[in-house]
Amino acid sequence: MMFQEGPADTLNYMIAGYAVILGTIGLYIVSLIMRFRSLRQDDVLLDEIEAEQA
């Protein structure tokens, strides 16, 4: 008991793990948002073209 060491300090690894999880999912969400915006711009452009053609 006198020489028993406590559990290893893995706080940095836990932070790194959360950073990878949140960062990866965050990047994917950002890519989805950017694609939605691009589609919305196409939508607006097509509305204008259809209005001109009508």
């Binding site: 690894y13 999880i21 994917y28 969400i29 989805l32 939605f36 589609l39 097509l46």
Partner: protein
Amino acid sequence: MTEFFQTLLIPFQYEYMVRAMWVSALIGGTCGFLSSFVTLKGWSLMGDALSHAVVPGVAVAYILGLPFSLGAFVAGLLAAGAMAFIKAKSRIREDATIGIVFTFINVVTGAIWARPIWNTWWTWDPRLVTATIMELIYIAYMMLRQGIDDPDRRARFSAVYGIVGFISVPITFASIRIFRTIHPVVVGSSDPTALGAFDMNAEMRVAFFFSLFTFTLIYITLLWYRLRLQQQKEKIEERKLRALST
């Protein structure tokens, strides 16, 4: 020279060999005719996939003591049905992109976990290798879809590749149970009499199931938005085609 030809004719002395030659010739002729038709229809990849898909059916038939042809026929039928269903109905691409994200997280955080526990970022362990191969198969699936312009061919090839690529999933899951591996078996311990089990304790189980629930919710949310994005994209494409045609 005569001895050489006599050696070649030895199999024809046996009745079963003569029957096998007749059956092979008849099947070869029929399959050749059908293969020409299949190739012209652009289904040659389907034929290659089916010929491999019948192998597990033969294996199961052997285990159950059934005729091999029955196992092969059932497996081929199931594979063809699955490919047709995926081609026509499923949104496998949207699912696969989220799969790439989650599998990437799995591999990288696995390495981060391994560093303090195994004192190494990476080891050529069956579970790690099969998980990484599964990730690469997912990425190759997306690249395959990007590379084909014709929608019908793209759907067909993706369906075939998706069926074959899916085999990596049960292999990855079962790898720690089949092979000798450093990776712990925490879901259903392999040997209850083994000294020092790696089963989950109560706190680990709570953390595991909470994480499973959370990531399932994240997956459903991401899939819903991804499907919406794809539907928007298809509507925009239709409108573009209509605008170009007028």
